[in-house]
Amino acid sequence: MERKGVTRRQFIKYAGATAAMLGLSEAFLPEIARALEEMTSGKPPVLWIQGQNCTGCSVSFLNSNYPGVAELVLDKLSVRYQPNVSAGTGYKAMEAIEKTAEEMSGKYVLVVEGPIPTAEGGEYCTFGLEKETKDLLGNKVPKDKPIYAWMQELVPGAAAVIALGNCASFGGIPAANAAVTGATQVSDIVFDIDKSKPLINIGGCPIHPDWFIGTVLNYLYYKKVPELDKYYRPTLYFGKLIHENCERRASFDAGLFLEDWNDNNPDFKLCMFKMGCKGPVTYADCPTRRWNSGVNWCVGANAPCHGCAEPSFYSNFSPLYEPLPNMNFGGLSPAIDTLGWVAAGATAVGVGAHYLYKQLGKKPEGGEE
């Protein structure tokens, strides 16, 4: 460790930060330190490709606070291809991907940002070129390579696939136009290729950097996929309802709702429910983890949670600024003004919320969210 220019003390401090991110007790520190050291000597290769993405998840990844991005990219991982970071372009980038796929088969982590369009032979999203394509006259033509074709090539050799962001995980915003492009969530493509392939969905539009990095570190530490919920999300980050941990929960219970942004005394912390908050049906740890080095989060900015970590985002949560429909708490259908009281008086909050979640989050058979 000393030879890497890191003191024991710094390393333990780092391991402590990592432990906190993973939600582990300090008793694990020595083991984490050992695992981290292992991974620094044999860094896992990562191939990161982009489908119908917006690069928001890559940018959010760059916002990682502890550990920082330079440390992750240079010390912890071997990032063989990342479209926004890699020096290589054109065929040089292709070479890096192909070499990794060949030499590191079974070892690399495949990160996919954005869904995979399948309509029109996958031509709604391409990167790189197919080498041996010929046109009708027999001329060699540099044909674009669909992300769909890349998936067929790279999924079989991947140790695990991480669908990064809401749209890779569940279709998200591009899937709202799936009728045209055939935008398909990554898991459907992966399980079509190999039903047993380890797959992790990191929801969120965008991802929180900790959700992704913590999952990767968790995977490296335990050498297996962390505990996942029915949507293949790590329960570590997506196990709790925003509403149950919201700093403004007291306002909800007291029926104090924000209705005019000018009335909002900054000290009041009014509930955003009437402005369309999807916190009651969204599973994510935003209230406690917060965003951008812990500076703030959506509800902290007097804005509703839009439910961006849920399979229902975006289409099934539209209109975003209208209150959730059919709030039905244990058979009661209270007017919104009294809703908070009812919820506070009954143990129905959890029940009601889970009930709602089942209603809204329900996945239609064989269809896109």
Partner: protein
């Protein structure tokens, strides 16, 4: 003999882009720029609640969601005829400005710098700076392990900055810049909740009231960034621009001399006074800035994958209907034209319209002014100078915030039965326009013309190339295996392809041999 070089993927940009160049005798003779991904954001907004628009269009791009959300807010403000409170206007300016800072820093250090600096040269560092020595050790370790990703592989060229001292300094700034751009995103989270995909701007205003607390934590980060921009970013740009081998790039990569700026950062509530001026320049005549008239904008789709019904329309009543099997098309970027001409947008266009003394001085010194050509390095310099003057101005805007004063006009909540609106703003990459039509209280039509649609546009109905295509012509490509100058030029525009689609079928006329990479 001419060769066709196809470069795909163009990395270190936003999105999916392919560049084809025809090279003859070591010089680019013709060029095609293609967007290779399509989602159809505009289509999916049809019949949605108008308030959804800004949350959805932010997701057009994760690098510049700020400018889309801001344009959408102004567009919806316009459609709902709100009077934007001063606090809201200043907060929107500060948030957009913060994203300019993060975007420009990210662009130079993380997207562009690796085209100019030889990272491996850091291993030869011989100085005594402890920070640089630590960096040297790290790079040496990576190189020794044969695992120098993501810095290698790369195009090889003999004109990378290879002086170990200078290379080590620049690479250490690459690492510093990661922290700096992160701080700029934290500035956005203070008022807008988080970044990317922020939530703090709404039709009629913003959601967070200024308080002494949030003003001060914002100001602290801004001053730290201003110091860094002045002492590191600007200095590095001047250093790179001063490298003898790069001197030709001051003028090489000129896009044709037409520049367009919508203007941005409203300094008064009427929006008549803007920090970045509005204006149009034709044929390099930079002393003759003309008024901008949005009615002069029309989009050609002759070479784009859209139905002929989308041809020649002003975006206010534009159409986005894909047709992937269309003959002669090679991009899903449309080809917007102003008064029939392709226009470069972005920091260079804005700075040529505004002409801050620092830029004029530099243009004189480097000879760009006399040559009347503004190329690759002119774009980088304009971006850095813009970043500085904007960050300096923001320090004054913070003082305009008044705790307790309104932040929202509740008229933003009253959706008219039918209405229309336009939001024209400046984003880090250039002029951005959003247009909405509301009918039956729902979105009847939504169109966005993004900066890269201007810069990266394909040929139009008259066969005239887009600005990036034009800028590539004449660039030296001495080694067809390493077309570094092509990507240097493309990246100088800071392209953001997220709204584009797929291509192929370049016009192969006169090309005797294909090189397929």
């Amino acid at each position: 003999m001419a060769q066709l070089i196809s470069i795909d993927p163009v990395t270190r940009i936003e999105g999916h882009m392919r560049i084809d160049v025809e090279v003859e005798n070591g010089v680019v003779k013709d060029a095609w720029s293609s967007g290779t991904m399509f989602r159809g954001i505009e289509m999916l907004l049809l019949d949605k609640h108008p308030w959804d628009a800004q949350q959805v269009v932010e997701r057009i791009c994760g690098v510049c969601p700020m400018v889309h959300g801001t344009a959408a807010s102004y567009c919806l403000d316009d459609a709902m005829d709100v009077s934007l409170p001063d606090n809201a206007r200043w907060i929107r300016n500060l948030m957009l400005g913060s994203n300019f800072i993060q975007s420009h820093v990210l662009h130079f250090y993380h997207l562009a710098a690796l085209d100019y600096v030889d990272v491996v040269a850091v291993t030869k560092y011989a100085g005594n700076d402890p920070g640089l020595k630590a960096l040297q050790g790290k790079v040496a370790g990576l190189a020794a392990a044969g695992d120098a990703y993501p810095f290698l592989p790369r195009y090889e060229t003999n004109d990378y900055v290879s002086d170990p001292e200078l290379a080590a300094t620049l690479v250490s700034h690459y690492v510093q810049a990661l922290e700096m751009r992160k701080k700029a995103q934290e500035m956005i989270a203070i008022f807008y909740g988080r970044m990317p995909s922020f939530v703090g701007t709404i039709p009629g205003g913003v959601t967070v009231q200024p308080t002494v607390g949030n003003i001060e934590i914002f100001r602290a980060r801004l001053s730290e960034l201003r110091t860094w921009i002045d002492t590191v970013y600007i200095a590095d740009i001047m250093t790179v621009a001063g490298v003898a081998a790069f001197a030709p790039f001051v003028t090489a990569g000129d896009s044709g001399g037409n520049y367009l700026a919508y203007g941005g950062f409203d300094l008064n509530s009427a929006g008549t006074e803007k920090f970045f001026a509005r204006g149009v320049i034709f044929d390099h005549d930079i002393t003759n800035v003309k008024d901008m008239d949005a009615a002069q904008i029309a989009e050609s789709v002759k070479h784009s994958w859209y139905t002929p019904e989308c041809e020649g329309l002003n975006p206010a009543n534009g159409k986005t209907e894909p047709e992937v099997s269309k003959d002669g098309a090679y991009s899903f970027l449309k080809a917007p034209r102003y008064d029939g001409k392709p226009m470069e947008v972005g920091p260079l266009a804005r700075m040529l319209v505004l002409k801050p003394p620092a830029l004029v001085e530099l243009a004189q010194k480097t000879g760009a002014l006399d040559a009347k050509k503004f190329g690759i390095l002119a774009r980088h310099a304009a971006r850095a100078i813009e970043c500085k003057i904007l960050a300096d101005a923001m320090a004054g805007w913070v003082d305009e915030l008044v705790p307790g004063n309104p932040i929202w006009d509740s008229k933003g909540k009253d959706i008219p039965d039918s209405s229309s609106g336009a939001g024209l703003v400046e984003g880090p990459r250039g002029a951005l326009g959003h247009w909405i039509t509301i009918s039956g209280k729902k979105i009847g039509n939504y169109q966005a013309v993004v900066p890269t649609t201007w810069n990266g546009s394909p040929r139009d109905a008259n066969g005239v190339r887009g600005p990036i295509e034009t800028s590539l012509i004449g660039l030296p490509v001495p080694d067809a295996d390493n077309p570094i100058n092509v990507v240097r030029c493309v990246r100088s525009f800071d392209p953001c392809l997220a709204c584009a689609i797929h291509v192929i079928h370049p016009e192969h006329n006169g090309v005797a041999e294909f090189r397929v990479f």
